[in-house]
Symmetry: C2
Subunit: 337 residues, 2 copies
């Protein structure tokens, strides 16, 4: 590489904790010195970073499955980039990698926390989406969590999002008899139809319960929940006997400042023998090999597509994240750096 190595980088820090909906003032763009590389470290020039709904939870100061972001410290999350300096034999300069130190233009990464990727096989940003965490989330949610079976009627909420759009397509590929999706705009609903969803509705049009009853008059067997709230209540109401719900996310509640009541019809789980199971993707990393193998097949046969919504420049990352929570994206929201 002929480019001179940078000695500083720009990164986004958490300036204050959001209360309710995040605002640009909750974030700060700062320039910091880059440390010298230690043994087994690489310097990565990030080319793209991910913003994901789960990050909202980490902005609150509460104990959860991952520690909260710290005030004044850089945020982090999925990113892809190119190695521009290396003290790790296995990841020489020029290697493309995916790693967990996004929200910055350059990252010093330990070799064990970076994974090489081949830009000839797929665009590198695919490793933040269909081939990355959202892809495995969709697969694990259907296969490992909801134990989807051939012939199931499957409902996916937030189905135009990164995880939802893959969950719906995977359900179809794995033999669902009917796949239903909800999304937050007419354009997204139209997109779901072209992705092969058998039915799709705009959840802003009228009560989810009504739309779902119409889209699945005989009920549903599997619900892949990205939204929570009204969606979860409607799904419980439409569930058939022994139905299974994968609780993946609850984006409807992420910006709420007060506890949100759970579904008032949860008691139906008793008579219907329903299973509700929560998960995060790390719990199903044992499914990664089969996921990668099957996904490679589907991609090779053009049986699955993925959407990306781009924003450009590190300074746009906070608004990209805010817009993501408001549903501005179709497919994976990615910030190119």
């Amino acid at each position: 590489m002929s480019e001179p190595l940078p000695t500083t980088t720009r990164q986004i820090t958490l300036a204050s904790r959001p209360v309710g909906e995040p605002t640009p003032e909750n974030f700060a763009l700062v320039e910091v010195a880059l440390p010298d590389l230690a043994d087994d470290e690489i310097l990565v020039r990030n080319t793209a970073m991910s913003v994901d709904p789960y990050m909202r939870g980490r902005m609150n100061d509460v104990k959860s499955y991952i520690p909260p972001f710290q005030l004044g410290e850089p945020l982090d999350g999925g990113a892809v980039g190119e190695v521009i300096a290396s003290r790790a034999e296995s990841l020489p300069v020029g290697t493309h990698v995916v790693h967990g130190l996004g929200w910055r233009e350059h990252a010093v990464v330990g070799v064990r926390h970076a994974k090489p990727i081949d830009p000839a096989l797929a665009p590198t940003t695919a490793h933040l989406g269909i081939l990355g965490m959202p892809g495995l989330t969709a697969y694990a949610g259907l296969v490992g969590v909801a134990e989807m079976r051939e012939g199931d009627v499957v409902f996916v909420s937030g189905a135009a999002g990164a995880v939802g759009s893959l969950a719906g397509q995977l359900a179809r590929l794995m033999g669902a008899s009917r796949v239903i999706g909800s999304a937050g705009s007419a354009e997204k609903v139209e997109r779901l139809r072209t992705l092969g969803f058998d039915a799709a509705f705009n959840y802003r049009d009228r009560p989810v319960r009504e739309s779902l009853r119409e889209a699945a008059p005989d009920g549903i067997d599997v619900y892949f929940d990205n939204v929570g709230g009204d969606h979860l209540e409607a799904a419980i109401s439409s569930m058939r006997q022994r139905g299974r719900i994968a609780l993946c996310g609850a984006i409807s509640a992420y910006n709420e400042t007060e506890p949100v009541p759970g579904p008032s019809n949860l008691f139906q789980a008793i008579g219907k023998g329903l299973t509700l199971r929560g998960f995060i993707v790390m719990m199903y990393s044992h499914l990664r090999p089969e996921f990668e193998q099957r996904m490679a097949q589907w991609l090779a046969h053009d049986e699955i597509v993925w959407d990306e919504t781009f924003r450009d420049g590190l300074e746009s990352a906070p608004t990209a994240f805010i817009e993501l929570l408001a549903g501005a994206n179709t497919g994976k929201m990615i910030v190119r750096l």
Copy 2:
């Protein structure tokens, strides 16, 4: 049998649907003619009948896993008795049977709906409790629904009830590292201690969440839910990673006239990877053979005990049921006829 065969019987009918807490006026005691026996039918003199919390749901006019009771028609439910007339070879006069036509002094029962029981092996009322539906419910909830494992910390709500008191004892027998129970009076809490619960608390004393945290400072792995409401919310909050909740009943809500909000902390199921699974005992009838075998062993070795609370006379059945919902029973509530 030398007693003359009755031509009429007394039974309890549903006079009106309860709104909220049932009252005696919702029930009527009527005398009706007994029909002649058809082929494969038996006439049973009921000696005891069961009142169970699930019956409250059947008094509402809503579709559920079993049809609602009909106005002006007799109620039904578990009962034991003796065959006093028979047109079924397999169940001759003198046989003791358990069947589903309680709430009446005599019942005409189809042979396929009655099961012979041996009064020499156990008191016949045990077939309404530890050897019957409540026993299998407790076993199935732990083994089939919550997939309890040796070493689990198990919490049972309504633990002095028919199902709860067995669930707690079974958990201990199957290797739970700690068994915690809640009940609604100091006397019941004391009883739980003598039944071998490691910790027990009165849920009327202070918030369930506080009591549970104190009783299980390191959290719980399995929650056997008979109560719903605050209990379920507290349990979710105390759940360890990958914890499992068997949703068996929600007695706290049975008399509510408005929808009851679900647990406001249900989102914790995501990060903790929790499973909530509802069930009714009929879904697990395949476990009956192993249940009967293991229970016979435990009983033979005096490793499990059961409590019964008795009321006497058919006319006391409505108040027995009303008292059951208010928690007047320890163990199985039984009406002797």
